[in-house]
Amino acid sequence: MHQGAILRIIGLLLMLFSIALLPPILINLAYGEDAGQAFLFSYVLLLCAGFVLWLPVRRIDSDLRLRDGFMIVVMFWTVLGLAGALPFLFYEPLKIQPADAVFESVSGLTTTGATVLIGLDDLPHSILLYRQELQWLGGMGIIVLAVAVMPMLGVGGMQLYRAEAPGPVKDAKLTPRIAETAKALWYIYLGLTLACCIAYWLGGMTLFDAIAHSFSTIAIGGFSTHDASLGYYESAAIETIAIVFMFLGGVNFALHFASWRSLSLWHYVRDAELKMYAAVLLFVSALSLAFLHLNRISPDLETAVRHGIFHAVSIGTTAGFVTTDYSAWPAFVSVMLLFASFVGGCAGSTGGGLKVIRVLLLFKQGQRELLRLIHPSAQVVVKLGRQPVSDSVIDAVWGFFAAYVACFVIIMLLLMMDGLDQITAFSAVAATMNNLGPGLGEVSANYAALDDFSKWTLCFSMLLGRLEIFTLLVMFMPAFWRK
């Protein structure tokens, strides 16, 4: 491992991230609120810390190996999760503990959207914007951004990109050069955010809310500037806009890229993962709205349709916006929605969960085993679309699934050891590991009621989910540290 090269990049990334603290400072000036000092102080601290890390090793220029990539990504997300908490800590009227501040920051960066803050409507605009910004940066991945804007990450960029990119097949590049790929991803991300922002604005939000919500919608985050989340607006138009853009954010960005390049929708139609993604969301939506309507939980059909579809998409894509207290619904609907979040978004999207493609492959692999029982000597190949999928990918998916379940069980037991009831513990782990946000039971509205141990555990769980388990778990292998 090249300590010098790793520190150099971490330093650069910290300096890059410190720029994210400037917009809140400006907003603070514009609204004349009292949070400016907290942000200015954090900005200077982060910039200096980055500079100090970078300065002694700035001339080291060795190529990054595979291991360095993992190391940088994990270190960076951890450091950033801690550093991102500074403005919350420094803003005194919030009066929050370090564990809360870190929880909020990690929840933002991992696009989870679970919050410990109560009374969002009364917080300064700068703090609110900063939370949304964290989600937006975490959505496409700040390392992908760094690869796009820093040319010196060239060859090593691939190692970083791979450690951060979601999905089972991590080598797919959109363009021959990694920097171009990263740029393309960010242009699409930026374009979608802009479109979403304009739509929200036209849909009746204030400009500030439109910008803030577009950040967390495209990032499939779920932070809002109101305690009631999107339910605050009671507007069918805004809910529809949110549904459309959450859906788009959960689609593989490589598909957006290919369609944009060839100016045709053909790529969407042909993609097997997208079909499954749409089918799952449709099925869950239909089931929940039918259940809500038939059991007379919603007062009328319109409410049932609005609530059913919105929550199915919001929870199914792992965004986690709500328009009503869905945890108060019968357990069948709320738990089904939680299970839908395990499927999550597509590979290469900003959504969380297992990713649709993995679930699809698991399903097809199960089908293959059944077919083998019937025809013991048949040669059965798992195919996606018309392309055969290599056994190594399927093995990796199985391994991933096993690790996911194992981590889930361990973290859930840890929470129950800390005194949480089963529903709360189960939903909290599901909501954090899938980067969803709101859970059930005690954590349906916010996570403020938990104690520090549970919060730290859930921070780890969110990072596990965002870095897709293996990138983080590999740090715990003794073999990783051997020379």
């Binding site: 060859v155 691939m158 080598d171 021959p176 050069r177 290599s390």
Partner: protein
């Protein structure tokens, strides 16, 4: 530039590495996923798995908007068909293909406009046999490179005690040989490159690279070492494509023996070659070598496709008394190893040679040739100056007025058939070929830019 490379073999992957570091968009196609995986980790390129000549594979690799196709798969047929597909379906501007079989190469109009639309044909065996032939023509030379269609040549030799110039400053070269113009381009002393300023003293055992008109090469070489006697007896170990070609080219002027291990191949060679003696046997068979008077051989040249066998049999031949031994070595790591040792006189690296030729065609602007000197420490570049004083950065200026990138020097100018050595006040005319040396290959792009004519020149 967007370039598609077919075949991730030694040449394909080395070219990809060279071009990717010069900020080109490279896509590499091969049918072996594991080879591509390894390359993708190391290089910033895109890779596509599939049969390189199939249109759907080429389309998914983005041939539609590629500027160039380099087909260097193992199969001549795949390369040729890929060029055809690229031409017919994708209208790719430049298509380069490697074709090995002499059976195809014998019919040049196969590759003209109507038939297989290959713009540049690369035949490594041909290039390598030419290279070896040059070395045999100039006994004592370590490397011989052509510029301006062979009008000027760059020769590397080892300086020995007894050479008239050894122990003297470089600037005295002119006094030693009135009427002959030559320029020392680079000196390697104990593995390090030295910038050849006029007051440097040439020491024994230096490797000296100089440039001169073709007719003057021998004269200059005689200044640096006692001139070797011309070669007469040559033994080639290995009768593959290169061996056969070389034997055919050399058998008229020299006594050539070819060693071949495979009985049917040896039989075929003996039928097709006229004056050579074809021997059936192993090149590392000491008894056989002694029996065939290895100690009387002027040159022993090991050119099988097995690096280790080539190295070992050359070492053996040297110990048994061959005057000069050469070995064909594919792996770059071995080449470095061998060139630093004294046992083998010349290591021939097919990659460097083929890639030099290939890159020449890839370069933009009017850069005609780029060759690496031994160990790649410097690049020799030939570029053509086009335009006039208004549109070009070089034409109409004297050598000292040209803004060369750091570490670059202009050594010689070929004007028509004349080879001029560059002096600080030599004025560049339109259509001159400039021969330059560059210590840092990353600056090649700057040199290319220098020779691009501004848009107003049509």
């Amino acid at each position: 530039m967007h370039i598609l490379i077919l075949g991730a073999g030694q040449v394909g992957s080395t070219v990809a590495a060279n071009l990717a570091s010069e900020a080109n968009d490279i896509t590499l196609i091969d049918n072996r996923p594991n080879v591509l995986d390894e390359l993708r980790d190391r290089l910033d390129i895109r890779t596509v798995v599939g049969q390189a000549s199939h249109p759907d594979v080429l389309a998914s690799a983005g041939l539609g908007d590629a500027d160039m196709l380099i087909a260097v798969t193992n199969s001549d047929e795949t390369n040729m068909v890929a060029c055809q597909v690229a031409h017919t379906l994708f209208h790719t501007p430049t298509k380069i293909a490697r074709v090995r079989s002499p059976e195809y190469l014998a019919y040049q109009n196969l590759f003209s406009g109507d038939a297989f639309p290959v713009d540049v044909l690369i035949s490594p065996e041909q290039i390598i046999s030419q290279y070896v032939q040059r070395l045999i023509e100039y006994p004592g030379a370590l490397q011989v490179l052509d510029f301006a269609n062979g009008r000027a040549q760059l020769v590397g030799v080892k300086a020995y005690y007894g050479g008239p110039l050894v122990g003297h400053e470089i600037r005295t070269l002119h006094d030693h040989m009135p009427g002959t113009d030559a320029r020392v381009a680079a000196i390697y002393r104990r593995g390090h490159a030295i910038i050849p300023e006029g007051n440097r003293v040439i020491e024994a055992d230096d490797e000296v690279f100089f440039i001169a008109a073709r007719k003057d090469i021998r004269k200059v070489m005689s200044e640096l070492r006692k001139l070797d006697k011309p070669f007469h007896r040559i033994m080639l170990a290995g009768g593959g494509n290169i061996g056969k070609r070389l034997a055919e080219a050399l058998e008229q002027k020299y006594q050539v023996k070819v060693l071949e291990r495979n009985p049917s191949r040896a039989r075929m060679l003996s039928q097709q070659l006229n004056k050579c003696i074809v021997l059936l046997g192993d090149s590392a068979d000491e008894d056989l070598l002694l029996e065939e008077n290895i100690d009387q051989m002027d040159v022993f040249c090991a050119i099988t496709n097995d690096d280790e066998a080539n190295i070992l049999s050359s070492m053996l031949a040297k110990r048994l008394g061959a005057r000069k031994v050469m070995a064909l070595i594919n792996r770059p790591a071995y080449v470095d190893l061998i060139e630093n040792e004294e046992t083998i006189d010349v290591a021939i690296s097919p990659q460097t040679i083929t890639i030099g030729v290939l890159l020449t065609h890839v370069r933009r602007g009017d850069v005609v040739a780029v060759h690496s000197l031994r160990r790649g420490a410097a690049e020799a570049i030939e570029a053509v100056a086009h335009g006039d004083a208004r549109t070009s950065h070089v034409v109409g200026r004297s050598v000292e007025e040209i803004h060369l990138p750091q570490g670059a020097t202009i050594s010689a100018i070929v004007r028509g058939d004349e080879v001029l050595m560059a002096h600080h006040d030599t004025r560049i005319e339109a259509d001159d070929h400039l021969i330059m040396f560059l210590l840092d290959r990353r600056r090649i792009a700057d040199v290319e830019k220098l020779f691009q004519v501004s848009v107003t020149f049509m």
